[in-house]
């Protein structure tokens, strides 16, 4: 299995660090972005196998980011997981409507994160 690349998008530095550290337990290449614009730059220029994105972000929120990602030819099918704090139904429905492949509840359990990510990039 080749090394998979995961793009992590969160405006919180703590969250980015934590997720990167959790993913460090697996064999992944991790790309970090503090906002939607940086995430789009990554998505256009690097081969990204999975996107983990926060929902509530300034400027470009998770909703808009997913829509824009889905319009990119190379990311029409890329798994996108939304990180939501309370996993509110409205957010989950919004994420699905925008084209997300699923969601992960914050606080993130490193083991769960690794399992979910692994299941998404395995095939």
């Amino acid at each position: 299995m080749t090394t998979r690349t995961i793009l992590v998008v969160d405006d919180s530095a703590v969250m980015r660090k934590l997720i990167a550290a959790a993913l460090a337990e697996g064999d992944y290449q991790v790309l970090l972005a503090a906002d939607g614009a940086a995430a789009m730059l990554h998505a256009r220029t690097a081969a990204v196998d999975l996107v983990l994105t926060d929902w509530n972000m300034p400027a470009m929120g998770g909703h808009q980011l997913i829509r824009e990602l889905r319009q990119l030819e190379n990311h029409a099918e890329t798994p996108i997981l939304v990180l939501t704090t309370e996993a509110s139904d409205a957010e989950k429905a919004g994420a699905r409507a925008a084209g997300a492949s699923g969601w992960l509840r914050k606080p993130i359990e490193p083991a769960t994160l690794l399992e979910v990510v692994a299941s998404m990039v395995a095939d």
Binding site: S12, M15, L81, S101, R105, L114
Partner: protein
């Protein structure tokens, strides 16, 4: 993975978010709130909550959860903002700050405080739900509310439940069913399948039993995952992939985001790949050491310059050119080093919007705060020491200066008072003003109070001199003692603090038209432009910003007022004459004023003449604290080392002025 190593980042981020939240809350227009601002406030609470939950900071999670809920409803216009609400939000912000401080110190936050603020927020939420008129928020001691969703599932097994070949409507039903059975940690779906990670105490069979009502048993696949470890996480169990290898982390800075966000993105990179940030933290002591060394360099340079000045310019042209270059370089170096210590006044001004808001509420007044010159830079040591005096002046203006709205309307003024804070450079000084459009100082009241306190007051005392009276220790004309600005102990402290910083305070006021307090400070304490003067064999330095002019007096201009007192007639004005040799008991000095030189100085709005033997020159001198190197000497503010290596004392002009003025009441009484 040790979660505690991320604490520091979280605390710093939370501090920033709270500061941003406060600023946005203060700027919020309650009638027409900017939705972007509301979103940003919500996001701040949301982000703090997310971090707090991750780190298992339960009290912080609970408090931010309640705050976030209210903010969420506010941003969706489900509730209308009221002033009490903003007050409660601001109070919550303070409590959150304290909670973070507690966690930072490795302690748990005070549970009573948490319970109290949670009760306030719940009360607000209930009032809004009921649509009832707000009652006074009752400080009910509700046991720390709201279960932390994070902690709920600790110890439970985690199941991976996979449904295949299901329809969209079944997907919804199934995910709803599973949420009833436990906590769904994650959920993913592909075209016709749905996978949920469920933390639950139920057995796999129980789940199958429930789901069988919706789909067939062969569409369900349940596997047991690792048990959920309690937070803070110990070593997680990497189920797959089997061979853990360090992730290759690549950082990218935000592409089109503002610089602040870009910086944040840089910080985000894992330690190994972290990019250099554009600023560094340095111990102030190190900077001060450099400043000191540069000071010594400047001294050496001026020493060389003095020697070189005696050389033949034709024979030593190259040396003298080099000297000129050295002087320019030394000066540039000094300026750049000094600029390291400079901070923007915004550091001080930014704390006042909150103070003004809280105080005006308390006092029932309406005040608009205007700040000007936030980018003006001031030495770090001065900027820290100016906060207290400035806070005092702002409190005074709000408490005693600006009137109640009714009084203002009666006086034909706008009911909303204005408080202006400004900072600007003037020459080698920075001038900070606190100005209000309130009632102004009351001359009669101050004079009456001064007489009552046993001060000798002349009938012809000028307004400026009356205003100076309020700087006397223990002086207060406040009609009632308030807990806002107290008993007027303070203006003397304000003045003393400012003087210790090498500055002075001036007051301008017109009854009914407000008061302006002006603080004049040197830009830095480390270097001073001075005029060196000789008295006997001693050299003294006079700070150049006090010096107006120097002249050789004629005998007919000097008049004796008494045995001790002399005045000098300068262009129609009589100035008290102080003899420097007498102040410091210098032997072999010129005692006949017509044989010496008189320097006209101004301190605290008054002018006086100082007799010295001769002027030596102007220098930039490095100020050496006399108290730390020797002891405090009356009339001397500091010392410096001259180009020839000898020590010269820097005269405390304000102290000389005061010493002269203490005799003034005797004159007035005579």
């Amino acid at each position: 993975m040790d979660i505690t190593e991320f604490y520091q980042t979280f605390f710093e981020e939370a501090d920033e978010l709270l500061a941003e939240m406060e600023q946005l809350l203060l700027g919020l227009d309650m009638d027409a709130p900017d939705s972007e601002h509301l979103n940003a406030i919500f996001r701040a609470a949301h982000s703090i909550k997310g971090g707090a939950a991750t780190f298992g900071f339960v009290a912080l999670t609970d408090t931010t959860h309640l705050l976030e809920n209210l903010l969420d409803r506010a941003r969706h216009q489900e509730i209308r903002l009221r002033k009490e609400m903003i007050d409660a939000f601001l109070e919550t912000k303070d409590v959150l700050q304290e909670q973070i401080s507690a966690y930072r110190a490795g302690a748990e936050p005070d549970p009573d405080m948490v319970a109290r603020i949670c009760a306030v927020l719940q009360q607000l939420a209930q009032e809004e739900s009921a649509g009832a008129k707000p009652a006074a928020p009752a400080p009910v001691a509700v046991a720390a509310a709201v279960p932390a969703p994070a902690a709920a599932a600790a110890g439970n097994a985690q199941l991976r439940v996979r449904f295949s070949r299901i329809s969209e409507s079944d997907r919804k039903l199934l995910s709803a069913e599973l949420e009833n059975l436990g906590t769904v940690a994650a959920q993913t779906q592909s075209e016709d399948s749905l996978t949920l990670w469920l933390e639950t105490s139920c057995e796999a069979d129980d789940i199958i039993a429930v789901c069988c009502f919706i789909i067939d048993i062969d569409q369900i696949d349940i596997t047991q995952e690792a048990a959920t470890p309690a937070l803070p996480a110990a070593e997680p169990l990497p189920v797959e992939p089997p061979e853990p290898a360090p992730a290759k982390v690549v950082a990218i800075t935000a592409a089109t985001a503002p610089p602040k966000v870009a910086a944040a993105a840089t910080v985000a990179a894992a330690p190994a790949a972290a990019k250099e940030s554009s600023s560094i933290r340095v111990d102030v002591e190190k900077v001060d050491q450099i400043i000191n060394l540069v000071g010594e360099l400047v001294i050496t340079q001026s020493m060389l310059a003095q020697t070189a000045a005696t050389l033949d310019p034709v024979l030593h042209e190259r040396l003298l050119n080099g000297m000129g270059q050295l002087e320019r370089n030394a000066r540039d170096l000094q300026e750049s080093v000094m600029s390291i210590r400079m901070m923007q006044m915004d550091y001080v001004f930014s704390r006042f919007p909150r103070l003004v808001r809280d105080l005006t509420d308390k006092l029932g007044k309406q005040v608009q705060l205007v700040t000007f010159g936030k980018a003006t830079e001031l030495d770090k040591s001065l900027i820290e020491r100016i906060i207290d005096p400035l806070t005092h002046l702002v409190r005074n203006s709000l408490d005693h200066g600006i009137e109640q709205p009714e009084q203002r309307i009666a006086a034909g003024k706008d009911p909303v008072g204005e408080l202006l804070l400004s900072a600007q450079h003037q020459g080698g000084n920075i001038v900070i003003e606190v100005s209000d459009d309130g009632a102004g100082l009351n001359r009669e009241k101050i004079v009456a109070k001064a007489i009552q306190q046993g001060m000798a007051i002349s009938d012809t005392i000028s307004d400026d001199e009356v205003w100076q009276l309020i700087f006397a220790p223990g002086f207060s004309t406040a009609e009632k003692i308030t807990d806002v600005s107290g008993r007027g102990v303070g203006m003397d402290v304000v003045k003393r603090n400012i003087q210790e910083m090498g500055g002075h305070v001036e007051i301008a006021s017109r009854q009914g038209n407000g008061t302006t307090t002006k603080i004049v400070l040197p830009l830095t304490l480390a270097i001073l432009d001075g005029m060196s003067v000789k008295v006997g064999n001693e050299v003294y330095i006079l700070p150049l910003n006090y010096v107006i002019e120097s002249l050789q007096p004629r005998a007919e201009d000097i008049h004796s007022v008494s045995n001790e007192e002399q005045v000098l007639h300068v262009r129609g004005e009589y100035l008290p004459l102080t003899e420097l040799h007498r102040v410091f008991s210098v032997a072999d000095a010129r005692t006949d004023p017509t044989q010496g030189i008189v320097v006209i100085l101004h301190g605290e709005g008054k002018r006086f003449a100082l007799l010295v033997d001769q002027l030596v020159g102007q220098h930039q001198v490095v100020v050496k604290n006399l108290e730390t190197n020797y002891r405090k000497v009356a009339g001397i503010s500091a010392a410096t080392i001259l180009g020839d290596g000898s020590v010269a004392l820097i005269v405390d002009v304000a102290a000389l002025q005061r010493a002269g003025r203490e005799k003034a009441p005797l004159l007035a009484a005579a």
